[in-house]
Structure formats: structure tokens, C-alpha cells
């Protein structure tokens, strides 16, 4: 099963099991989803529940908030994270605030999914990784499933949350093949996962960078360096204990994050380690991030802008030796 099929399977299961669930977004119906995630769902569930929207990000996200307030369980698909900026007012000023601003009277059980990330030569308006911006905002949850079971299980878990959940699906992951147990169901969305145990250095990553980081760990192993790989899975809430436990054993950490370095979520993780595990560190925490440039189109330039396996290997070796 692919990551794409896993998301679709979760959507189907949610639509089958809860009449309050519906999906809306640009081209989710007749077109079948810009990334073909919702392919076939219109035929199966009808136009009332698989709703094509106009190109009105702000209003269909706001309508998702309103529908959630009104007792539904909307799933809103935004085509890419760059487009989500058109809905930033509704997300930051409304979705994230209504519970608090109303003194806890109202809550917004809204799930918003969107594609994120680069690597597909789509240049500077379709390739950025802005999930770290959203993770800045209290009142929402930010999930970054990186595996096939997580693509399925985290979406179902998000639908049980009483507050807005934003799911960032790295667009290069959709064709990813993976195994999924028959009984994959609800899963915890607050805990990071140790994807590979190791004793020499902790590599902390999430989403689309997990594959590159796992590859880097394999290469490091050939040189006798055992890297532990942590997949954060959720940026907010952040599972700091899992990070600190690992650093307490390895005493070294590299953060791999496809977003830009300046003001990044990688900086947040690095700071948390510095604040809470300073005495454990044998070396500075390093960051492998995107270069400070809008994403270029040309393949060789895009590759140079994004974190790559050799960069991760190099950073790890620099602090392990």
C-alpha cells in the first residue's frame, strides 16, 4: 500500500463510520484530488460529503471552522502549504483562538490536510516547508506523518481531537510503499518514534526528511557510527522527553528539517536540548536545513537548496569524531 492509498483508506473509513465527517477542498471531488488522494471518493460518498470548493482558501477553511462549531467533523484539504497562506487569517485568528477566546465554551474539531515540501522541481511557490510556522501557534496541533501506517492512523486519530489538527503530508511521500498491519487503527499522536536505535549520535527529523535521514544513518553505520533516528511525528505538541532521553545516551544531536534554517523549528528543538540537556552534550547541536533561498526550479539547484543525505552524514561525522 502507498502513502496516498493509506490517506485515502483513512478518509474512507472516517466517512463510513461517522456521518458527521465530510471532505472539502479544491478539486477533491470530480478531479479526484490534486495528488489523487481522494480519487473515487465522490463516486462512493456523493457530492454532499465530497465537496469541491471554489479557489477560496480563506473561506473554505473558515467554513470548516463554522461547520465544526456547528457539530460536523470536517476534513479540509488545502492543495499545498503555500496556498494555505491565503487562509492564515482563519487558521491563526479564528481556529486557534475560539476555544480560549470563548472561555472554553466552544471548540473547533477541524482537520486540515495539506501537501508540503520540495523535491519535485515546482519552484518557489509550491515547494516550501512552512509547518514550523503553524507549530508556533498555541491552540492547534501539527502532525507530520512520515510513514504509511502513520498516514492512515494519524488522520483517524486527528478526527477524535476536540481542537483543530493540521496534517502536513510531504508531497514526495505519496507514492511511498509501506507495510500496514490489518489492525492499524487509532494511534497515539503525541509521541515521537525512534525509527532506528543507536548510541553515537541522535538524528532528529520528521516528514519528508525521514527517508534521507534513515539513509544517512545506514551510511554512518558503515563507518562505525551508530546513529539513533527520531521521527518527531508531531511538531505541536512536541515530544521533548523522547528527544532528551536519546540525547542523554548519545550526547550528540543533529536536527534535519527541510524548512529554512533562520527562525526554524530546528532552532526550537536545538534550544530545547540546550535548555534541558546542556550538561549531557559533548558537542554543539547541529542543524541540516534548506539553504536561505526561495526554492529554485532547476534540478541541480533545487538539490543544492534542500537537505541531502551527504549533508546529514557530514554533520554527524563533524560532531562524532
Amino acid at each position: 500500500m502507498t502513502y496516498r492509498e493509506a490517506v485515502r483508506a483513512a478518509l474512507r473509513k472516517a466517512l463510513q463510520s461517522d456521518p458527521r465527517v465530510f471532505l472539502m477542498g479544491e478539486d477533491v471531488g470530480r478531479y479526484g484530488g490534486a495528488f489523487a488522494v481522494s480519487h473515487g471518493l465522490l463516486e462512493e460518498f456523493g457530492a454532499e460529503r465530497i465537496r469541491d470548493t471554489p479557489l477560496s482558501e480563506s473561506t473554505f477553511v473558515g467554513a470548516g471552522i463554522g461547520a465544526a462549531l456547528g457539530g460536523m467533523r470536517p476534513i479540509v484539504e488545502i492543495m499545498t502549504v503555500n496556498f494555505s497562506l491565503l487562509a492564515l487569517d482563519q487558521i491563526v485568528n479564528n481556529a486557534a483562538t475560539i476555544r480560549h477566546m470563548s472561555g472554553g465554551q466552544f471548540n473547533v474539531p477541524l482537520v486540515v490536510r495539506m501537501a508540503t515540501g520540495g523535491g519535485r522541481q515546482l519552484a518557489a511557490q509550491h515547494s516550501h516547508s512552512l509547518e514550523g510556522w503553524y507549530a508556533h501557534v498555541p491552540g492547534i496541533k501539527v502532525l507530520t506523518p512520515a510513514t504509511v501506517p502513520d498516514a492512515y492512523g494519524m488522520l483517524l486519530a486527528a478526527l477524535r481531537e476536540p481542537d483543530p489538527v493540521f496534517i502536513f503530508e510531504h508531497a514526495t511521500l505519496y507514492p511511498l510503499e509501506g507495510e500496514m498491519e490489518e489492525d492499524t487503527g487509532l494511534m497515539d499522536i503525541t509521541q515521537a518514534a525512534v525509527r532506528r536505535p543507536g548510541r553515537d549520535v541522535t538524528l532528529i527529523t520528521y516528514g519528508g526528511s525521514l527517508g534521507k535521514t534513515m539513509e544517512a544513518a545506514s551510511l554512518l553505520a558503515k563507518d562505525g557510527i551508530e546513529a539513533e533516528v527520531i521521527d518527531l511525528r508531531s511538531l505541536r505538541p512536541l515530544d521533548t522527553p523522547t528527544i532528551l532521553d536519546s540525547v542523554a545516551r548519545t550526547h550528540r544531536a543533529v536536527v534535519v528539517d527541510e524548512a529554512w534554517r533562520t527562525g526554524s523549528f530546528a532552532a526550537e528543538i536545538s534550544t530545547q536540548i540546550m535548555e534541558k540537556a546542556f550538561d549531557e552534550l559533548d558537542a554543539p547541536v547541529l542543524r541540516v536545513c534548506s539553504e536561505e533561498v526561495p526554492m529554485p526550479y532547476a534540478k541541480h539547484l533545487e538539490e543544492a537548496a534542500l537537505p541531502q543525505v551527504n549533508g546529514i552524514v557530514g554533520a554527524a561525522k563533524r560532531i562524532v569524531s
Partner: protein
């Protein structure tokens, strides 16, 4: 701009007439008291008064049942009072007390009341419209007969969310009454200085949203027009935009020196003060006596004084609870 007048009056009975008058007076006196409490620094932050616009909120609210949903703006004291949210809890909210309608988290701009389907005052202009569209979608999908009404001002029609919401509500035939309180100014910028097309109902029509405009200083005309709009929407005909032409007598907020309009213009509009206008109508129709007027005034004053006492007596939310209402727990 010509202001259409309603030609046929509602056959208004005395009881209802006095109720409407009282509702408008409650808002007027509440706002005057709020200004006083602001000058005493009991109320802080931004304070946007509704004085002059009482007929729009009171008249419009008559068209909606407790099952209907309300979405309001940051100038929402009048909407909240007309919806029946207790006066004391509103004053306490502005005092920042835990007994406020939003537990002191929202203040003047963010009144909420779940039990009255009052989904809040929104302070990013235009931001409430998409939420109203979504509430109406939820009602429609759950086959509830409710309608959602969304208040907003003339400033909001410049926002993309206004245009997107008109289109989506019409496209999906959603039960929304869009109530535009056109007080002629987007903060300090006159309508004609920010809109190429100043006829707001015309904008709605271009999206296939039925619409009309009404004198917003005549409470009976507003009520009749709002009932018509609500009936249209309840009939499954899709959304309706009602533009109510009104004027705020006070500045945009307490921080506004009001330099962008002339005193003469304000005085001209005050001649059409919705409360004085209605009182003189009622006296003409022999529906209001001096005794009635004095009694209503005394009752309203007592209610507002009691609201201040309630607000003063309210506890502060303990700082230990600061983070309590950020996120909820997953139900097991």
C-alpha cells in the same frame, strides 16, 4: 445615496412596540455606561460603541429564533444584548472578570454565549463571514431548520472573504442572512473613499445572492425587512443580504479623535436618532405615554446599574488557570 423607506408599516401592537423601545434603550444606556467605565479605567483595551445603530441590531434580531445562529463583529454589544445575553455577564466580560460571558478572555470585542448560539464577536474585519457560511452548512447537512445570521459592516465588503463567502453561500444555497450594518465608515474611511461601487446590495446580486437595502434608523422597517430576509432563507432559497443604512454617533473607538467627518454631518444624522424617532412615532400613534417612558427609563437604568455591581463583584480567573482553555482533552 437615497435611502429607501418601507411603505407599509408593520401593524405593531403596543406591547411589542414598548419592547423594541426598551431593547434599544438598554443598548443606549449600556453603551453610555461602558464609556463611563472606560474613562474610569474599569474597562480597558478597545471599546467600540454601538450608539446610533440600535435599531439595526434590535430590529434584525426579532427575525431569529433561539435555534438560529448568530455571528457578530467587534462592535457587538448591541447584538449580544438584543440576543438576550445577560447584561451583567457582558459588563463583567469588559471588566475582565471570570463571570464574564467569555470568562474575561475576550473583552469588549469577543462576546460568546454557547447557550444562545452566539458564536462570537470577530475583530478581523470580514473574518466572521466564512464561519457563518460553515455554520449554515452544518445546519443544512444535519437537516436542522435553523438559519445563521452574520453581522458585518461596510468596511468588510472590501475584504476578499466577503466576496468568497457570497459566492460559496450562493453556490451551495446555504441558509445565511448576511446583515450589513452600513454606517458609512470603515473606521475613518468613508465608503466612497474605499469602494468603486458603493451599492453593497448590488455586489451581492452579482453573486446570485438576493438582497435589499433598508433604512437602518427605523426599527420597525428593519424588523420587517429582516423578517422578510429570514423567511426567504428559511424557505430554502439560499442566502440573503440585507443592507441596513445606519450611522454611529460616537467615534470608531474610544481611541478615535473623529477627525474624518464633520460635526454637521453627525448632527444631521442625530436628527434621525433611532430611539427619538421611534419614541415620537409611538407618541404620535398614542402607544407611548410619559409614564411609560419614565418607567422604561427607570427599569433600564436599574438593570445597567445592577450589571455594573455584578461586574465589580466578579472574581478574577486565577492565574493558575491561564492555560486551561487552550486545548481540550480527547473524549474517551
Amino acid at each position: 445615496m437615497s435611502t429607501p423607506r418601507i411603505s407599509e408599516r408593520l401593524p405593531v401592537d403596543r406591547e411589542h412596540a414598548l419592547f423594541l423601545l426598551r431593547e434599544m434603550l438598554r443598548i443606549r444606556r449600556f453603551e453610555e455606561k461602558a464609556a463611563e467605565m472606560y474613562s474610569l479605567q474599569k474597562i480597558r483595551g478597545f471599546l467600540h460603541l454601538y450608539i446610533g445603530e440600535e435599531a439595526t441590531g434590535v430590529g434584525a434580531m426579532q427575525a431569529f429564533t433561539p435555534e438560529d445562529a448568530i455571528v457578530a463583529t467587534y462592535r457587538e454589544h448591541g447584538h449580544a444584548l438584543a440576543r438576550g445575553i445577560p447584561t451583567g455577564s457582558l459588563m463583567a466580560e469588559m471588566f475582565g472578570r471570570a463571570t464574564g460571558c467569555s470568562h474575561g478572555h475576550g473583552g469588549s470585542m469577543h462576546f460568546f454565549d454557547k447557550s444562545r448560539r452566539f458564536y462570537g464577536g470577530y475583530a478581523i474585519v470580514g473574518g466572521g463571514l466564512p464561519i457563518a457560511v460553515g455554520l449554515a452548512l452544518a445546519d443544512k447537512l444535519q437537516k436542522r431548520p435553523a438559519v445563521t445570521t452574520c453581522f458585518f459592516g461596510d468596511g468588510a465588503v472590501a475584504e476578499g472573504e466577503f466576496h468568497e463567502s457570497m459566492n460559496l453561500a450562493a453556490l451551495w444555497k446555504l441558509p445565511v442572512v448576511f446583515l450589513c450594518e452600513n454606517n458609512l465608515y470603515a473606521m475613518g474611511t468613508a465608503l466612497a473613499r474605499h469602494q468603486a461601487q458603493t451599492d453593497i446590495s448590488l455586489k451581492a446580486e452579482s453573486y446570485g445572492v438576493a438582497s435589499s437595502a433598508m433604512d437602518g434608523m427605523d426599527v420597525l422597517a428593519v424588523e420587517a425587512a429582516a423578517r422578510q430576509a429570514a423567511d426567504f432563507v428559511r424557505g430554502g432559497n439560499g442566502p440573503y443580504l440585507l443592507e441596513l443604512r445606519t450611522y454611529r454617533f460616537r467615534a470608531h473607538s474610544m481611541a478615535d479623535p473623529d477627525l474624518y467627518r464633520t460635526k454637521q454631518e453627525i448632527e444631521e444624522w442625530k436628527k434621525r436618532d433611532p430611539i427619538l424617532l421611534f419614541q415620537s412615532q409611538l407618541r404620535e400613534w398614542k402607544l407611548l405615554t410619559d409614564t411609560d417612558a419614565a418607567r422604561i427609563e427607570a427599569e433600564v437604568t436599574a438593570e445597567i446599574d445592577e450589571a455594573v455591581r455584578f461586574a465589580e463583584a466578579g472574581p478574577w480567573e486565577p492565574v493558575e488557570q491561564l492555560l486551561n482553555d487552550v486545548q481540550g482533552r480527547v473524549a474517551s
